[in-house]
């Protein structure tokens, strides 16, 4: 080693190899980069992993983990709707468009959710008739693009979700690159086939919260005040946004954290906009509590919910239900080591694929290619989704029983402690082994 100057081999921590590659690629492309999946930030975000349940011991008595009843029934939309939706479990499928997803994927999600007594949601492309047919409970998204929006579909839905933003890319519209705008998808969206479709960020007929009050009333009039109206927010200024949505008359507010997935988005938006789901649920609860509407307006939390553990923590922090998206696609087979050569052809490999935007999904989920789609047989895929949602529910129940709760909705912040100072500051839950919460004085 003598004589070798090590400093000449030191890579820059600013211009890391991946940063240089990014610059090289953009120098060729002449535009920002797209990809799917969701944030891939190297620095871990504050997350539900930073919390732990402090289950029963002497101060509280647990329920028998495998025997005693623990209700998972979930009712949403009790504020104004004549017919709130009733689900058997607090885990729901989030909105993902037919176009972003294949026909088989949409139908499999609908069938899977139906088998466990839960719901699915349409997406930025209107209602696929088969999705209505196979869903027990179907939430219809009204998005800025209004692709395929029909009053007949609105009336056929069990709830309406007025989407203001999504967690992966709040304040921007959806993207469906031309490779996925097949003739069939183009016809459904009334677009030319093959265009790089960019959805607008703003609704065409309303802008701010005052307008939204009137828009919500229109949706209620259009549905005879029958179905719940959800308002979906990408998690940014959550405290204020939740208060505005609640005051505008929402029955249910959906808050989608920055870990939320997408089938296509500029990469920088996924990695550098929004706030983590952990922070979002805490702000959302605080907003509703400060309005005196916590419990009257239901709260759905989304964005990176991976397991029953994440879901149980979200419920304990104040959610009434959770949406899953990416996790449901992984249950379908996303990133599974099948057709490995096709992952390689995309320049990736199983467990690291985020090429949903290309339309070349090796496992037939995020594609409109009929041959690729055949790789996702609906019946088997639906069974995996149902199994996964059932497993999540068992995990939530297990944790609830261990906390002495006969209903998963009885989980509460007191059941949790923070494992990091960061989480303690975000959640207000004391750091484990202490009563310390950053920013809070003893006795507060």
């Amino acid at each position: 080693m003598e004589g070798r100057v090590l400093s000449t081999l030191r890579p820059s921590q600013i211009y890391r190899p991946d940063v240089m590659e990014d610059i090289h690629l953009k120098a060729e492309l002449g535009r920002y980069r797209f990809r799917g999946f969701g944030t891939l930030r190297p620095r871990p975000l504050p997350s539900f992993d930073d919390l732990t349940f402090i289950t029963c011991s002497l101060t509280r008595i647990p329920l028998e983990g495998y025997r005693e009843r623990c209700s998972t029934k979930t009712v949403l939309g009790t504020r104004f709707a004549k017919q709130p939706i009733e689900l058997d479990i607090p885990v729901m499928i989030t909105g993902m468009s037919w176009g972003a997803l294949s026909y088989n994927a949409k139908v499999a999600l609908a069938q899977g959710a139906r088998r466990v007594g839960s719901s699915t949601t349409t997406g930025d492309g209107g209602m696929l008739p088969a999705e209505r047919e196979h869903s027990r409970t179907l939430v219809y998204e009204v998005l800025p693009s209004r692709y395929g929006l029909s009053i007949h579909d609105v009336r056929a839905a069990d709830a309406i979700e007025l989407t203001v933003g999504q967690g992966a890319k709040p304040a921007t519209g959806g993207v469906l690159l031309g490779s996925k705008v097949s003739a069939e998808i183009a016809a459904a969206r009334e677009l030319p086939a093959g265009v790089d479709q960019r959805s607008p960020a703003r609704h065409p007929d309303w802008l701010g919260p005052d307008d939204m009050i009137i828009k919500i009333e229109e949706l209620r009039e259009a549905t005879e005040w029958r179905v719940p109206i959800f308002v979906k927010l990408g998690a940014t200024r959550v405290y204020d946004d939740v208060k505005l949505a609640a005051k505008a008359g929402a029955d249910v507010i959906v808050v989608d954290g920055m870990e939320g997935g997408t089938a296509a988005s500029p990469e920088i938006l996924q990695d550098h906009t929004g706030i983590p789901t952990l922070a979002a649920v805490c702000e959302a609860r605080r907003g509703l509590e400060d309005l005196g509407l916590y419990g009257q307006v239901q709260l759905i939390i989304a964005g990176g919910i991976r397991s029953g553990v994440d879901a149980a923590k979200a419920l304990a922090l104040g959610a009434d239900a959770v949406y899953i998206g990416t996790a449901a696609l992984i249950a379908l087979n996303c990133n599974r080591p099948l057709y490995v050569e096709d992952y390689a052809a995309l320049g990736t490999e199983p467990y690291a694929c985020h090429h949903c935007h290309t339309g070349r999904c090796p496992v037939g989920i995020t594609t409109q290619d009929p041959e690729l789609m055949k790789r996702l047989p609906v019946e088997e895929a639906a069974e995996r989704v149902a199994n996964f949602m059932h497993a999540m529910t068992l995990e939530i129940q297990m944790l609830a029983r261990a906390c002495g709760k006969a209903d998963v909705h009885h989980l509460e912040p007191e059941d949790l402690r923070s494992l990091t100072l960061e989480a303690a500051a975000i959640t207000g839950l004391p750091l484990v082994g202490t009563s310390y919460v950053p920013g809070r004085r003893a006795g507060d």
């Binding site: 029909s150 009053i151 265009v195 065409p204 007929d205 307008d211 828009k215």
Partner: protein, 229 residues
């Protein structure tokens, strides 16, 4: 003709009355004293003639399929938004987003339209007898807009397909909008569209369509993309 006096009635009560009358077989309904209420006659799915005798607020006739609605006054934002088929005529002016995202049918504004008229239209026809505001036809996908007067800035910005005809001055074209003179055949088409509604319009129109440079990402069209973003 059945009549509803809106005085002291809530929007909910008025819309319920409209639906009840339709269910009873009424095919001509008159609403008196609307007092600029929002959300009147939304989601009407029957071929029925409804006249509203006065100004209305937001979303009058919104999300309808088959209604023939006449507003004898001005309309607020989003008149006829999301309509699938039918006809909505506004005798006065219209607020922002008139005929937003309609997929079919005809919307006629005899007066002026404010910003974003015909935004994201997916089909159908929008006729504006007077002037129209900023961003008319933004991200229009299909259908036709006929503006008899002047058009504000950013006209026909970022359209996919669809055609905008303008009889007066165009303050500014939007991104990727391309203008040409309407052909004799297109002028005849415009006359045919205007005639049933008694809108005369000027003798000549210009036609604005998408230049299609924004349809797909392409670094070769760098100037267009810089303007669009």
């Amino acid at each position: 003709m059945r009549t509803i006096d809106c005085t002291s009635l809530s929007t909910r009560a008025i819309n319920e009355l409209i639906r009840r009358l339709i269910a009873e077989g009424a095919r001509e309904i008159l609403l008196r004293n609307p007092e600029a209420r929002h959300n009147l006659a939304v989601a009407i799915l029957t071929d029925v003639a409804i006249a509203i005798d006065g100004p209305v607020g937001y979303y009058a006739g919104g999300m309808s399929d088959g209604v023939r609605l006449t507003i004898r006054g001005s309309a607020g934002w989003g008149v006829a938004e999301g309509m699938l088929s039918g006809t909505v005529v506004v005798d006065g002016n219209a607020g922002n987003g008139a005929a937003a995202s309609i997929r079919g049918g005809t919307v006629v504004i005899r007066g002026d339209a404010a910003a974003r008229a015909g935004i994201a239209m997916k089909g159908g026809l929008l006729v504006i007898g007077g002037d129209t505001g900023y961003m008319t036809g933004f991200m229009m996908q299909r259908g036709r807009i006929v503006v008899c007067g002047n058009a504000g800035p950013a006209l026909a910005d970022s359209m996919y397909e669809g055609v905008v005809f303008v009889g007066g001055e165009i303050a500014e074209l939007g991104n990727d909008a391309v203008v040409s003179d309407a052909t004799p055949a297109e002028l005849a088409e415009i006359r045919t569209a205007l005639a049933p509604h008694g809108v005369k319009g000027p003798d000549a129109f210009r036609k604005v369509v998408s230049g299609r440079k924004l349809w797909n990402y392409d670094k070769k069209e760098l100037d267009a993309w810089k303007a669009a973003f």
